[in-house]
Symmetry: C2
Subunit: 367 residues, 2 copies
């Protein structure tokens, strides 16, 4: 399980760093304007890799191709209506843009669908961090009765096994295994595909050393983001996704969001967060810090999808996590910075696979 860092300590460290940034910008010999901001950013963040590698589940072409087919495969839902792509739509940056997901039987799930883009780079998966990686995550929703609703691992494997093309593709993707078409490999193949869902953005160009990649306003936003303490949690390659934190450090999240909520969601009650997994008091209201990569596209925000406007969401975060009220100028700069995190969806992922035909042996969809 991922380490949980203390946000107050991080904020203190960030404040020291930002003071250094502010006061020493012109003190170091040979520094051009902006060099210090770039160096600080390079210390806090990192450019995206081409692929999120996993030694235990190597990303191979055959596995990724199979994983993509399974990602777009409606037969991985009992009804034949939903695929992974239904809630993590590649065409909309890996989310469904709904407060919380709609699943089997028109059930409304308890939490917002997180983006699949760059998700494999995170330290853990799900809002409560209960899965260690995308491979572990991918097997979950298929079997969840209010998501894809497949009754058992055996059902999923039997349905896929009835389609000769899948039997061949699993054998090619897992060539060293005596029994390649098993449920764990459904998740491994989908996970391998997800490890390719990386969205390089202008911010990566900047982190690579090209200061012209960001405008002055965007750099002001970045500096604000660092100096106000946002980067205390939203750091690293995915600008978040690396730790679990209490939501509502300074004041209650639920009180603070009420005025911004435009429509009811099923989770407007108090979501206890990771406590539901561990039943330890210290995990009350603990959630994974989400990645801010493509945050301009992954609305609505928070684990309950209750807030649609990114300015509102940012103001709420400043208030309940940092005890700070942002000015309109702060928000303008932060919105400009966020735009630099909007990356490019890989063309390969957008290319829909043609799915193989069912046979008379294939289990029928069940409404």
């Amino acid at each position: 399980m991922p380490a949980r860092r203390r946000p107050t300590l991080i904020v203190t460290l960030l404040t020291i760093l930002s003071l250094t940034l502010t006061t020493n910008a012109t003190a170091q010999g040979g520094d051009a304007p902006g060099d210090q901001l770039l160096r600080t950013a390079q210390a806090l963040f990192a450019p995206l890799p081409d692929v999120a590698a996993n030694l235990e589940n190597p990303v191979t072409d055959t596995k990724v191709e199979l994983g993509k087919m399974l990602y777009y495969e409606p037969r991985l839902s009992l009804s034949g209506v939903f695929s992974c792509n239904s809630c993590h739509n590649i065409a909309t940056y890996g989310v469904d843009n709904l407060e919380t997901a709609t699943g089997h039987g028109w059930a409304q799930g308890p939490r917002n669908s997180p983006t699949v883009m760059n998700a494999a780079l995170q330290a853990s998966q799900f809002w409560d961090g209960r899965a260690k990686d995308v491979e572990e995550q991918a097997g979950g929703p298929i079997l969840n009765p209010i998501e894809m609703g497949i009754p058992s691992q055996e059902f999923a494997v039997a349905r896929l096994s009835s389609i000769p093309q899948y039997a061949e593709l699993f054998a090619m993707a897992f060539p060293d295994q005596a029994e390649p078409l098993v449920y764990a490999n459904v998740a491994n193949a989908i996970g391998a595909f997800e490890r390719t869902l990386i969205t390089p953005a202008r911010f990566d160009t900047y982190l690579g050393g090209d200061q012209s990649a960001l405008s002055d306003l965007e750099k002001t936003g970045l500096q604000t983001f660092i100096s106000y303490g946002c980067a205390g949690c939203h750091s690293g390659t995915t600008v978040g996704g690396n730790s679990l934190q209490r939501f509502g450090v300074v004041e209650s999240y639920w009180e603070a969001t009420r005025e911004f909520v435009t429509i009811d969601t099923p989770t407007m009650g108090m979501d206890v967060g990771r406590f539901a997994v561990t039943h330890e008091t210290q995990d009350l209201y603990i959630f994974k810090v989400p990645t801010l990569r493509n945050i301009t596209r992954t609305y609505p925000y928070f684990h309950d999808g209750s807030v649609w406007d990114l300015r509102d969401a940012t103001q709420i975060m400043a208030r309940v996590q940092l005890g700070r009220e942002l000015t309109d100028e702060d928000l303008d700069a932060l919105m400009a910075f966020y735009a630099t995190l909007e990356g490019e969806i890989p063309a390969y992922a957008l290319q829909l696979p043609v799915l193989p035909a069912s046979t008379t042996e294939t289990a029928k969809p069940q409404h």
Copy 2:
């Protein structure tokens, strides 16, 4: 509205044609074996064009690109869950492979979702032929309360208008219009995209004169298809789709299908067909003859999706429409012929568009 032809007359004509085919195959001077079958096929069918043109709605690049975005656009459903592609999935030959569609609120529709592939070439749209073309069709499901559930044309237009990129794309796609973002143009753009969904197959190569494109068994299937009278209705470019016919000429469809039905569907009662549109007695049990292009992929079969196995469906058609019982050899040959109708989905259509972001003005999804 499309003309309705008398199936008995057609069957008679086809029988004469097939007798000619059988008896004159070697009588004509200079004919190589198979020439007569090819000529007969060329008289009954036609190769697919590149695009299904429409003078009233010209197929332009900008319109097709916009139409593709709208085709994959979940915001054209009230819930944000369904797009056109949900029921007419490009990855599965333009169908959902369900008995009948699942729509807003988990409603189950009354009829099977027909394929969108090559649909624009048909003489009419919907199972009862109530729309004259794909443009007229495309506007229907968006507003249907048990399909995409958008409450009004105004709602759809307002939601799209709140997204600046759509305003620009409509202006580019309909450059001569003072008010390009209107509901009719939503349907026109989707229709233009659908006019590009053409799937050339080996059968087209054969119709173009290359007799080696079909195997001997496939040619036997084609000859069976013609001489038994199937081509009486399933003719033309789309091998069907050109006329409306009574389902159950020789005996009751519902009685004949009962033994083949594997699971219940909501429409296992008597669907009155086109009668529901016209309320004229002569339209009782009248349905559009579906295209057989990609029939190997567009299971389950018939207007109620009640039959999953193509052999069963073919046997039922022979029995209830032609009063004939097919042998296993007949069915083997017909299945081989059907495989030649399985075409290639255009790569462009499979390339998912990246959809533009909503704004704070965009109407929220409603569960």
